[in-house]
Symmetry: C2
Subunit: 124 residues, 2 copies
């Protein structure tokens, strides 16, 4: 822990910082899909899906497995569900305008609320 997070985290977050890849991840929450299915569901070019699946697999956010001619991709639920959970909690608490966080306005007002609330995502 604490050893050069800035260097090691880069690819992790960069891979998630893309709407197509997030859409793929979201789709895969419903179960494994092959490339064609993903590309149809998201209404995107097959090659684009393939290109985007590569960093997702490299970072192990998804796993893949061949079945006959097709390749099925499945979600790394362990990591992704935790990540989505943190995001949801954070967005709900800190980004009341629907997670969009488009403005810096209202930071002062919000700060007061922050001080009073101290719920944690996972309580033991």
């Amino acid at each position: 822990m604490k050893q050069n997070l800035s260097e090691t985290c880069g690819q992790f977050f960069s891979t998630l910082a893309n709407p197509t890849r997030l859409a793929i991840l979201e789709l895969l929450r419903d179960g494994p899909r092959n490339v064609t299915e993903i590309s149809e569901a998201l209404n995107q070019e097959q090659s684009m899906i393939s290109h985007n699946l590569k960093p997702l697999e490299r970072c192990r956010f998804v796993f893949s497995e061949r079945r006959k001619k097709e390749r099925f991709y499945s979600l790394n639920k362990e990591t992704m569900e935790q990540l989505f959970k943190i995001f949801s909690y954070h967005a709900e608490k800190y980004c009341p305008t629907g997670g969009k966080c488009r403005t810096n306005r209202g930071l002062q007002e919000q700060k007061k609320k922050d001080a009073s609330s101290s719920l944690y995502l996972t309580r033991h």
Copy 2:
């Protein structure tokens, strides 16, 4: 939960997908710093630090507070420590080459290990 993560998560992860911003976050783990201190510690232009602090504050990964002429930035530990924890766990388990994940090689070999291990980050 589950409502258009792909749309709402974008800014969250994009903000984290930058080495300067990650370095700022890492620095702030040691406590609040003003802009000048950050820029000196990271050896970067002051204006660059300011530019990068903006999205961090917009997403509420950091908070800020004026003290006299200076503005001190502090980490949103609640969110960030959880995020770093997930990252560390994931990297250790899935990216044995030091979290770099530069290649897709060895995915087959790794996959076998994955099946046997099923530790969770937070156990209750």
